[in-house]
Each structure stands twice: as C-alpha cells, then as structure tokens.
C-alpha cells in the first residue's frame, strides 16, 4: 500500500493543458508542409521525382498530405528551397482535396457538416477498425486514452461494439482480406454515423500504394467525413481534429 502511494506521489499530475494552452513539439517534428511559390522549376521537378510517395505535384506546386509520410526527404533535397515543414500539427481536413496543399489549410472548424456538432458535440463514441496498416496509427490513437491526452475528459471514447458507436475510425490501406469486415462494421453502426480516415494508409494506401492487395484509400469504399493525415498522425493531430470537428 505504501509503495502504491509512493508511486502515485512520484508520478504526479500529467494531463496536458492542450487545447486551452498551446503546446510545442520538438524541432525535428515535421508538420504542415509549406511550398515556396518562388522555388525554381528544377527544384520542384527534382523533389517530385524523388518523393517515394509520389505526393508532390511539381506543376501545381502542391504536396498531397494524404499521400505524404512526412519523411522530410524533399525538404532536405531542396535544402528547403521547394518545401519546408512547419511545427504545425493541426492538419485534419473535412475534404480530401484540401489535403493537396501549397501550405494553407482551411479552418477545420468551418466544415459543412455542422449537424455533427449538435449530435456528437457532448458525447462521441467511436469504433476503431484496423485494416492492414502498420499498427502505428492504432498505437497513436490508443495513447489518447493515457493520462497525458485523456480523451475521455472531452466526452470522446473508443467503444467495443459498432452498435454502440456514432462512427468508425479507420486506419490502414484496407486490404482485400479486411474489406468485408470493414464494410460489415460500417453497416452495423447505426445512422447518423461519421467516418474518419486516420493516416496516409487509410487516406491513399500510404506506403503500400500500388499493391494489388490494398485499396486506394477509404474514400473509394465509403463517404469520409474527416481526414487526419500523417504516418502516423501525431496524437495531438488526432486530438485537434476530433475536437475541432465535433466540438
């Protein structure tokens, strides 16, 4: 008993003040990319050709955050001349096309599905479906339940059954072998329901794009309400997107 209390004392209070107070991530974290409009065509083409995820459109000077894994290779390659990554982790969008960006993102709070706020603003129960990613997206969703993030204090929980859920959160590129289970989970969730795609895999196939065993992203199968990019998205990216979209 004494040992339990001693540990409790040593651990202290750990819950983050975010979103009430801003929080900073370490310098090497790569968040929202910003494309330099004055970059040379050569730099743009070089980055586009080198990008392992084919996420760069040299002509339109955009980065597709839905394909990007935020490896930072393009930034290094162009010495920041074509693109640089900011510390901004607030990356969620309500529209797939908004992820294709030169650096500006529309304010997520302005999304058009306003009724979701009324329906789920005070209580949001989500069913997670893991569909063939690498499990890092799942891991960084799971940590939202740890004391630092403490998602439950916002009335948001992950639940065991789709029957108890207001929506599904999908990770992974949706393998052929997981498609049926995913669709059945979606069908088992009562309407009105939300669909959230977390991570490059769920948005575009991620690192596995081109494999005949995976889909080209969740939107090819279901209507998606909220896109949270990253590989994986930082837990704060998830937290920000959920709070901004539903609160």
């Amino acid at each position: 008993m004494l040992n339990t209390l001693r540990n409790r004392f040593e651990q202290g209070y750990r819950t983050s003040a975010y979103p009430k107070e801003p929080i900073e991530l370490p310098a090497r974290y790569r968040g929202r990319p910003v494309v330099n409009p004055d970059a040379s065509g050569d730099d743009a083409v070089q980055c586009a050709e080198a990008c392992p995820q084919a996420a760069i459109d040299a002509e339109n000077r955009t980065v597709d955050m839905g394909r990007c894994v935020f490896c930072g290779y393009c930034e290094r390659l162009s010495d920041g001349r074509f693109v640089s990554f900011t510390q901004d982790f607030e990356l969620g969008t309500a529209d797939r096309t908004h992820l294709i960006t030169a650096g500006d993102l529309p304010d997520l709070a302005d999304h058009s599905e306003r009724h979701f706020r009324k329906l789920f603003g005070r209580s949001l129960q989500l069913r997670q479906v893991s569909a063939a990613g690498c499990n890092a997206c799942e891991a960084d969703l799971n940590v939202l339940a740890t004391p630092f993030f403490d998602l439950a204090r916002f009335g948001i929980n992950f639940v065991a059954s789709p029957r108890h859920a207001d929506g599904i959160v999908v990770t992974g590129p949706i393998s052929r072998n997981m498609k049926t289970a995913l669709m059945e989970t979606y069908d088992a969730t009562p309407a009105p329901k939300v669909v959230i795609a977390v991570g490059a895999c769920a948005i575009s196939g991620g690192p596995f794009y081109g494999s005949p065993e995976v889909s080209e992203g969740l939107e090819s199968l279901l209507p998606v309400d909220l896109f949270i990019p990253g590989c994986p998205p930082h837990p704060l990216t998830n937290l920000h997107a959920l709070l901004t979209f539903f609160k």
């Binding site: 339990t4 991530l25 090497r28 974290y29 930072g72 290094r76 479906v129 569909a131 940590v143 065991a160």
Partner: protein
C-alpha cells in the same frame, strides 16, 4: 557438426555460387540434421527464377548462420513431419508458390492470397471471395464442447485476426489463431525494385518495429553495396532500437497490469511509454523512429544538445520506471494472476521455435544482440536473460528486466560524443549474384531479412521474417488448458504483431 550447408555472415553478402545448391534429398536431409541437432530456422523460403522455383534455407546453429538451396520439387515429403520448427515456413512456401509439402500435419494457408505463379492452389481456395476466414477450423468434438469465435474486428483499438477457442466450460482445449487480414503483399512490393520506396515500406512492415525492420533492410543494402557506416550512426541506430524496445515493453507491462485490474501501473506505464516514444520523436521527428535509419547511416545527428536532453529525460524517468516495475511485481494480487498462467515448457518452445522474450521466458536464452551482434552491440555487454517458468510472469519479468538493462545501455551510449555524417542518398547498384541475410534482435525477438540478387544486381527475392512468425503458435500453446478469461492476459504478455506476420 559437419554439414553440406555453408556458413554465412550476418549482414555480409555471399556469392550465390558459394552457397551449395543441393539435390533436394540431400538438402532435406542436411536441413533436418541441423535443426534436429539443436539448430533453428531463420529462413526457409521459395523464390522464382527463369520460371523455376527454388528453395533457400538459412538456419542457425549456435553462433553460426548456415545456408543452402535446392530446386523445389512440385511436391515433396514435408520436413515438418520429422521436425516441427519448419511448420510455418512450409505452409508459407505452399501458399506463395503452390509447392505441396506432402504429409504436412497442418497444411493450412498462412495469409490467404493466390500464389505468385498461378500454380494450382494447394488449399483449394477461391480467391475471388475476399474472406480469409472461410475455412474449416480445427474442431474438438464432444457433447459439452463449445466454440468461441472472436474477430477479425476486436473490441479495442487492435489489429484484426480471428481466434477460435474450443472449450469445455471455461477451460480452453485448443485455440486456433487465423491471421492474414493485414496482408498487403509487402515482399512483392519490395521486389518491384523501386528502391526509393524501400525505407518507407520496411518501416511500415510493423510500425512498432520500424527500427528493427529498418535496420535489417539498411544492413542488407550496406552489405550489397559495400557501404561503411560510421561509429556515430551505429550508436544512434543502437540507441533507437533500444528506445523501441523500452517503449514497447513498458507499454505492455502497463497493459498487463490493466488486465489484472491493477490500474496504477497501467496508467503510469501508458504515460511513460509515451515519454520514450517522445525521445524517438526528439531524435528524428517521428515517435516510432520512422525516417531515422537509412542505408549508410542515419538522417539526423546526435548533437551535444541532443545527448544532454535525452540524458536529462532518462535521469528523470529511470527511477520512476524502476519503481513502477517494482510495484507491479511486488503486488501479490498481480503475482497471483501472473504466476503459472499460460505456461509453455522449454521443450515445446524449442519445437515451436519461439524467439525473443517469449523464448527467453521458456529458458531459451538466444538473443541476437549477443549471438549475431550488429551496429554497436559488439561494444556492449548484453546480459543473458532467461526465466524457467514459461508463464505470464516469466514473459513480464524478462521484459521488465530488459527495460532496465536497455536504459543503462542507452545511458552509456549517450555518454560519448561521436561525430556522424548525415545520410540522405544511398547507392542502388547491388552486388550481382549474391545472397545476404541480416539478423537483429528487435523487441519481440529475431527479425531477419534475406535478399537475393540476380546477375544484373537486381533483387529477385526480398524475404522478410518478423519474430511474430515464430511466436503466434506460442500464444496458442499458452492457452492450452488455460481459462478462457486468461486469454487477454496471455495475449498481452506476447503482444505479437499481426501486420508483421501478415506482411
């Protein structure tokens, strides 16, 4: 032991001509002799070349890696009949190439996909149906027997898999684990030879082992291109692999505590795991270490400032971690649930080929960091860990011990400043006609990649083995004669990878 197999070196390419290509009967006899004599299977796989299927085995015998190949017969006498550790590998070869191991005691698909060469399907599956679970599960007969089916979608934020329990009352007589839902076809994707994508793909084999798999790929390329890695990069990569180990073990110890309803360590470990992930984030900008390791070195330096920050954080965390682990194992209600639960004997562990903490918990001390040291491990002394009991307690104990050891290892490595060059580009002209196998001890155990190049230096086969490929059957064995309510506890004591297995 005298053998027709030839010795190869971890991470160093061997000319294909120097690897014996044996007549199949000789291959079979020699492979069996090595494994029956106490050796283990690191790899046993098929590959296709000029329309013929060939087999390659990499076995380990004490501290030697032994390799040989042969032409694959369309059907052959299963090695598993005489020697269980080949069990999963023969099933995989049957699934990938349609080669039938006759008399295999449990010839069942591994991941549910058509084979690579459109040969008749060994399992009689119709892959037009996208349901891997359409299959006759092993069933126990009897009036009072009942079956419990769980998954593929589970009641938490967990990867998909199907678990079929045959029970009498609460007692599990048999658990069958059916995977494949996470199958993305990673190996063929890599042999597409778009090398730019390799680091990103291998870091996605199993995100919780991004460093482990990243290192296996990087070392293979370094071998095939004769690339030197400087001392600083070797240290950073070792530190990253140890952070990966600590974060996962600490998280699992918390999950185990939560499963026996002792909530304080569950919460503390959840938070402290995050602190370790955040140290990987500090090193390279990604909590899972993605983007750090590349062939030739690392993409981020370890500056004096970095070493100061990381050491400071470790100084703060080390006592907390030690105290929470002490609290966990010192609590009698925890010990009451851990002790004796889900025990696997040393002999069963050997037959199943268990590796990593799962094997060490059954008294098999193998640790690739000691036996096949890569990176900076040659300069470190890694303690020999082994527990005799093979139960949840042993698996947890090994992990707790390794956490504390790894913290010391990292601290010692952070002490010396070493310059390192930053790597972005790496050569893609691989040695032609070569085989290279890389072995590392990731947190779940032995992870290994094996690459074969053709005469033009093109990679014709990229074989991946995650430790979970060995260990899932350990979990099934743990459940034999165990109460079904102890499944979650046993499951977390292994915490195996679905995606690492499914590829």
């Amino acid at each position: 032991m005298k053998t027709a197999f030839t010795e190869i070196t971890n991470g160093k390419p061997t000319e294909r001509a120097a690897i014996p290509h044996l007549p199949f009967p000789d291959f079979r006899r020699e492979a069996l002799a090595i494994v029956q004599g106490g050796g283990r299977v690191v790899h046993f796989f098929g590959y296709e070349e000029s329309d013929a299927v060939k087999l390659m085995a990499v076995l380990r015998d004490d501290d030697r890696l032994l390799a040989a190949g042969c032409d694959a017969p369309e059907a052959y006498d299963a090695l598993t009949r005489e020697c269980e550790p080949f069990h999963m590998f023969e099933r995989e070869i049957a699934e990938q190439f349609g080669i039938r191991p006759e008399g295999h005691p449990w010839l069942k698909m591994v991941r549910y996909h058509p084979n690579y060469r459109s040969a008749p399907d060994v399992f009689g599956n119709d892959y037009g149906e996208d349901i891997p679970g359409r299959y006759d599960y092993y069933a126990v007969d009897g009036e009072e027997i009942h079956e419990v089916a769980v998954g593929p979608v589970h009641a938490g934020v967990i990867e998909p898999g199907h678990f079929r329990f045959n029970c009498i009352g609460e007692r599990v007589l048999h658990l069958e684990i059916h995977l494949g839902y996470q199958h993305r076809s990673v190996e063929p994707l890599l042999t597409g030879n778009d090398y730019r994508r390799w680091p990103i793909i291998v870091e996605g084999i199993a995100g919780d082992t991004a460093i482990g798999h990243g290192l296996c790929m990087a070392q293979a390329v370094e071998g095939l291109t004769d690339l030197e890695v400087d001392a600083g990069a070797r240290i950073s990569r070792t530190i990253a692999l140890e952070f990966e180990r600590i974060a996962n073990h600490v998280g699992d110890l918390g999950a185990l505590s939560g499963d026996v309803a002792f909530l304080p360590p569950a919460n503390y470990c959840g938070r402290m795991r995050g602190d370790f992930l955040n140290m990987s984030l500090w090193m390279c900008g990604n909590r899972f270490g993605k983007g750090l390791v590349r062939p030739g070195g690392v993409r981020f330096p370890m500056t004096d400032e970095d070493r100061k920050v990381l050491t400071g954080r470790i100084d703060e965390l080390q006592p907390q971690v030690a105290h929470v682990i002490g609290l966990l194992f010192g609590t009698s209600s925890v010990r009451a649930r851990f002790d004796g639960c889900g025990a696997v004997s040393r002999s069963d562990a050997g037959h199943l080929g268990l590796v990593g903490p799962a094997g060490r918990a059954c008294g098999l001390p193998y640790d690739a960091r000691r036996v096949f040291p890569t990176e900076n491990y040659r300069r470190l002394s890694i303690p020999e860990n082994a527990e005799p009991t093979g139960d949840v307690y042993a698996r947890a104990k090994i992990r707790g011990d390794e956490v504390l050891q790894s913290i010391d290892l990292i601290r010692s490595m952070l002490r010396n400043p070493v310059e390192t060059a930053i790597i972005e580009e790496w050569p893609k002209d691989f040695a032609p006609g070569a085989v290279v196998a890389t072995v590392n001890e990731a947190w779940r155990g032995e992870v290994s990649h094996c690459l074969i190049t053709d005469d033009a230096g093109k990679v014709v086969r990229y074989k991946i083995k995650d430790p979970s490929f060995h260990n899932w059957n350990g979990l099934a064995m743990s459940l034999r004669d165990t109460g079904i309510s102890d499944f979650p506890l046993n499951n977390k004591s292994y915490n195996l990878s679905y995606c690492g297995f499914d590829l």
